[in-house]
């Protein structure tokens, strides 16, 4: 049996940012934005990254896409290490990972017409000949549900949802191996969210796409993702397939997070109780031990100085907690 290479394989990824010093002699502190993250995404699958604001979801995505500098670790795309790449090699690699941002407006040049914006992505990555590129632009517009007429409009003439479609067309221009969607629907109205989520799922099936899907909306994540990793202060505390994670969350943080989500289902509502109080600790030189210990109702003595490792508990479930 041939074991297929995962599209994305991340090992022990760390991204530290230096804090600004107040005076020259002060020692630098570090923001541990991403602190030892390991992930794997197989071809055609969607991995969800969830967690509270500041937990390091975006930074993880940006580091994988080489849009921020990783401090250490390894990121392999189709088996090829990308963290060390420079110059021409990096430019070629960029075709293979594309990023869809939360706010499509700020990521699109307002002075270019929509057709040019998508076209530019092809030009920049030197994909195909002139006529091929025009045909490809037409095709991409059709695939994301925009018409030919839309090619002539400027981004500000688009609605939020149409702009996100444009952002997706642009990202798909280079036939990427991996599409990183960072809160792709958070800025949109619910009705438009459904349109974009359906589009992303349809494109995935039709084009065989692999997604890293970042979101804080657990309902959306449950609908979109095959597997989910829960992040807390730069680390993954639980990772499981969608059924296991939502049916049987094991980490106290995951349980609390799920319990906090309001629900329109009366049966689910009866059971939810708030479990998480307070706020996450600062990611600046975070303390030893379990990072959740300051909010965990089950915390024991050792939780405050022994760091729990992410361990396999079941076939499809990994948890980082001393009690599990």
């Amino acid at each position: 049996m041939i074991v297929p290479v995962p599209v994305l394989e991340v090992n022990n990824l760390k991204v530290y940012f230096r804090t600004k010093r107040k005076h020259f002699f002060e020692v630098h502190s570090h923001i541990h934005a991403v602190d030892g993250v390991s992930l794997k995404v197989e071809f055609g699958k969607t991995l969800g990254l969830v967690g509270e604001s500041g937990s390091g979801k975006t930074t993880t995505g940006l580091a994988i896409a080489r849009l921020v500098q990783a401090s250490s670790g390894s990121v392999k795309i189709m088996g090829k290490e990308v963290l060390g790449l420079q110059g021409e090699e990096l430019r070629v690699q960029r075709k293979h990972i594309q990023y869809v941002f939360q706010d499509p407006y700020s990521s699109l040049n307002p002075r270019l017409r929509a057709g040019r914006l998508v076209r530019e992505a092809l030009d920049r990555l030197k994909i195909g000949h002139t006529t091929e590129r025009s045909i490809r632009v037409n095709e991409l517009f059709r695939q994301v549900g925009l018409s030919r007429e839309h090619e002539r409009l400027f981004p500000h003439q688009f609605s939020g949802g149409q702009r996100q479609r444009l952002g997706i067309a642009r990202a798909l221009a280079s036939h990427p191996d991996l599409l990183i969607c960072d809160e792709p629907v958070s800025a949109l109205d619910v009705a438009v969210q459904a349109q974009i989520l359906n589009l992303l799922r349809r494109l995935q099936k039709e084009m065989g796409l692999t997604y890293l899907f970042i979101s804080h909306d657990l309902g959306v994540v449950q609908h979109m993702c095959d597997e989910i990793a829960v992040m807390y202060v730069g680390q993954i505390v639980e990772q499981a397939d969608r059924i296991s994670l939502f049916k049987n969350p094991m980490h106290p943080y995951t349980k609390g997070l799920l319990a906090s989500v309001p629900s329109a289902d009366p049966n689910r509502r009866k059971k939810t109780q708030i479990q998480i109080y307070g706020e996450p600790p600062s990611p600046i030189d975070p303390p030893l031990g379990c990072r959740f210990s300051s909010r965990c109702q089950l915390a024991e003595e050792r939780c405050h100085f022994e760091t729990p490792l992410l361990r396999k508990i079941k076939a499809n479930q990994k948890v980082a907690c001393h009690l599990i």
Binding site: E52, S53, S159, G161, D189, V190, A191, V192, Q193, A194, Q195, L197, N198, R201, R202, H216, L218, G219, V220, Q222, H223, M224, R242, I243, F246, K247, G256, L257, L258, A259, S260, V261, P262, S263, A264, D265, P266, N267, R268, R269, K271, I274, I276, Y277, G278, E279
Partner: protein, 334 residues
């Protein structure tokens, strides 16, 4: 039902725009009882914020109330003088906005800001006001309130800032609190606490709350009754459980069906989400004598394009504005 504390009748708010005068609020009526929590839902641009600003009489320059009444304990706010409104705002009726950072003054500590409200509205002395400010911070569950009182807004997290805003809004025990998307910018863990806090405050003080949100699940969690708005109009109104189980207006049905709800059970197979095609019409279409939802509606018929549907009562407390008697609905919640 007890007499409503706030009763809005046939409210119309007209905006002057380049394409003429348009009603951003178009003949809207609703009321709220003492201690009641009413949710208002709808996509952005449907007039939720304008409705609350009209009640507060804080609309932007180009907006004008052209007809209708807004009665607070019987008194019509539409005809109240500006001086009278100043006396009511903060005392009888308060509002919490989506972005607490813009509503707080960055150069004063949060303790000073709350104390200021107490001094102007209740005539407390400096030391009384400061003491009471700390009590209020405590009542919204801010840890170490006497220390936090000295913090400036930027030193607090988003959730803490929103609590401060709620503390300010509740400083004078208003009869009605309007919370306009108070948790949209916050994490769900924080949102859960803000919701719990609002519930507790209502239970303790009897304040009525209007919760504006775009999230049906938040309405389900928080409110007893819900009003759905579309393009400046009320399209459906009723008890929350009833609306969730048996929504009658195609827009309400769409809002419930298009969301990937977290449910009690999770199924291996995933169907496509229901789509409401298109988007909310531009403001220039508001006010037309037709159903403004028609371009997005799968039940549309001729009459919908020629006449605005009127409110019709379908059950004891369940109103909807739709010409169709039979809008079949694939049930989401049994």
């Amino acid at each position: 039902m007890p007499d409503p504390i706030l009763s809005i009748k046939n409210l119309t708010v007209v905006f002057k725009t380049r394409s003429g005068d348009v009603p951003v609020i178009d003949d809207v009526s609703f009321s709220i009882a003492p201690r009641e929590i009413l949710g208002i839902v709808g996509e952005s641009g449907c007039g939720k914020t304008m409705t609350s600003l009209a009640i507060m009489r804080l609309m932007p320059e180009q907006g004008k109330i052209t007809s209708g009444s807004i009665r607070l304990s019987g008194e019509d706010l539409v005809v109240a003088s500006e001086a009278r409104m100043c006396g009511l705002r903060g005392n009888e009726i308060s509002m919490v906005f989506q972005e607490p950072m813009t509503a707080l003054n960055p150069v004063f500590s949060v303790g000073e800001q709350i104390a200021e409200v107490l001094k102007t509205h209740q005539g407390l002395s400096n030391s009384e006001a400061r003491e009471h400010a700390i009590e209020l911070l405590e009542s919204v569950k801010i840890p170490l309130p006497s220390q936090r009182a000295n913090d400036y807004p930027h030193q607090l997290s988003g959730g803490m800032r929103q609590r401060v805003m709620i503390a300010i809004a509740l400083a004078c025990k208003p009869k009605v609190l309007i919370a306009d998307e108070p948790t949209t910018a916050l994490d769900v863990t924080v949102q859960a606490h803000i919701f719990e806090l609002l519930h507790e405050l209502r239970d303790q003080t009897g304040t009525s709350i209007i919760l504006i949100t775009h999230d049906m699940a938040s309405v389900a969690e928080m409110a007893e009754r819900v009003m759905v708005m579309y393009a400046g109009r009320k399209v459906e109104e009723g008890p929350v459980e009833e609306i969730l189980k048996n929504p009658l207006h195609p827009y309400t049905q769409g809002l419930i069906r298009c969301v990937p709800h977290l449910k009690e059970t999770i199924s291996p197979e995933r169907k496509d989400l229901h789509e409401i095609p298109g988007i909310v019409p531009p403001i220039s279409h508001f006010g037309r004598n037709e159903c403004l939802f028609a371009p997005r509606c799968c039940f549309v018929e001729d009459r919908c394009l020629n006449q605005r549907p009127l409110d019709s009562k379908r059950a004891a407390k369940h109103l909807t504005a739709c010409w169709q008697e039979n809008t079949n609905f694939e049930k989401v919640f049994a």
